[in-house]
């Protein structure tokens, strides 16, 4: 418990937030870096995963291929992938940009499977009769996707993005291994200095960040739940929440 108290004291010490402190401080700068890496990676992953997921979910084509491929992607250890990417990138990009590009690629690869799964599972969960009726009423395939499938699948799509963001926030700490910033920088420097306040404080920061972003997504997921479709509430992750859903229902 002393360890925690001292880490918390370190976290609350305004000295650690003073602008211009020596790296890895101030904390808020690392926090911003961490969110930047996360943002870039999630955005890039979304640009790849969402269109692909919509295509698979709408057409049902290529599903098996993508499932096995993303399964393999999930199995890749991100840290190992990062070092491998650095070696490969070495020949192609300048050494000062390679760490950022490598980290982002590694995080994108981490984020794609959950997003893709949420996306096509969401589209597949839409009642076939509804889609059939929409088509028979004269919607184009594009209109079916835009006006029927995506709105109805939104909670699951957001759910996929939510778990991808969570993984990326937790994993973005590895960027510090290749000389970048982020909250991982605080932890690695703590390891180097045998400074347990920093190690634990950094870890607590990552956890707090992940939980608060997760909470935001939980709200978003609830907001996107289709009105008029009671049982299409998003899947709950925690029991406390499902209990309160049950109470409301």
């Amino acid at each position: 418990m002393d360890l925690f108290e001292s880490a918390l004291r370190w976290l609350l010490d305004s000295e650690n937030y003073r602008a211009g402190s020596r790296s890895p401080l101030p904390i808020q700068d690392r926090l911003v870096e961490h969110l930047t890496y996360t943002g870039i990676s999630v955005l890039a992953a979304a640009l790849i995963a969402l269109p692909l997921g919509f295509f698979i979910g709408h057409t049902g084509r290529g599903r098996q291929l993508v499932i096995s491929f993303t399964g393999a992607m999930r199995a890749l250890p991100t840290l190992g992938l990062l070092f491998f990417l650095l070696m490969v990138l070495d020949d192609h990009v300048s050494f000062d940009r390679a760490p950022l590009i490598g980290s982002v690629i590694a995080l994108v690869i981490l984020a794609i499977p959950s997003m893709l799964a949420g996306c096509y599972a969401g589209l597949e969960s839409v009642d076939r009769t509804t889609i059939d009726a929409a088509r028979a009423n004269g919607m184009t395939e594009w209109q079916i996707l835009r006006l029927v499938e995506i709105p109805l699948a939104l909670p699951l799509i957001v759910g996929g993005i939510r778990s991808a963001v969570l993984q990326v926030i937790a994993t973005a700490t590895i960027a510090s291994y290749v000389g970048l910033g982020g909250l991982g920088r605080i932890i690695t420097s703590g390891i180097g200095l045998y400074d347990y306040d920093r190690i634990l404080g950094g870890a607590l920061l990552v956890t707090a960040l992940a939980l608060s972003v997760d909470a935001l997504f939980a709200l978003l997921q609830r907001a996107t739940a289709t009105r008029g479709l009671a049982e299409h509430r998003p899947a709950r992750r925690r029991t406390s929440k499902s209990a309160d859903t049950a109470a409301r229902a």
């Binding site: 009642d127 009769t129 509804t130 059939d132 009726a133 929409a134 088509r135 028979a136 009423n137 004269g138 919607m139 184009t140 209109q143 006006l147 029927v148 709105p151 109805l152 289709t226 009105r227 008029g228 479709l229 009671a230 299409h232």
Partner: protein
Amino acid sequence: MIEFESVTKQFPDGTVAVEDFSFTLPSRKTTVFVGSSGCGKTTLLRMINRMIEPTSGRITIDGDDIAGRNKVELRRSIGYVLQSSGLLPHRRVVDNVATVPLLHGVKKSQARAEAMDLLDKVGLDRGLARRYPRQLSGGQQQRVGVARALASDPNVLLMDEPFGAVDPIVRADLQSELNRLQRELGKTIVFVTHDIDEAFLLADQVVIFRKGGVIAQAGTPAEILAAPADDFVASFVGADKGKRTLHLQQRPDDDGLTLVVDGDGRPIGVLRPDGALEKQAPRP
């Protein structure tokens, strides 16, 4: 007028749903396709709005080959009602009804106003307009489905077992409502059902199918009831069952009316001169 010209449909798995089917459905009349499941009646219906493409043969609407028409445009010009209402669960009733006009680019306020009128027409309270489909009963949902199908004022209305999933009382209600609507609107209706009573009640022309989309008999309800073409038809209309042997009866003291009588000798309705069956109100 909808014409099937030697239409065949073989599905990719080899099943032949319909083979060399030729038939003409008159304009502004109700044609009911009836048969047990797997007889190809739904396949035929769905070929009219190109939800299913025939393997060979031709389908024309008023002389126009539908194969040459843009699928989306064709579907928007044909009303379609499904068994499960197939309403968009995330849209309010009024917007569901306005689906096709909105796709056509009609202004939202105008489309909604017209949708409200349609709710009146199908006998729904305007107060339900702001509800979501899930908040309606099955019968109400079907009425919304009918209103949606009528929203683009189509000449042709396709109905695929629309009243199959509602309870008998509501079904009787919807059936008489559809008859009323049809007298008022005069659409070319193609109606699919496996319920022979429903077929006789709604149809100007009944087509009874065997497996494989083969016509067992086609004609007005009166013609079929009076002279079933063969044992299959006879058993289908219930003539061979002791329980409900539908047959026609004319008695001198009935003022020349033709009664439709079941096996127990109970009259279930009166045959109108144009061949339609006027069903008697159910007795308590």
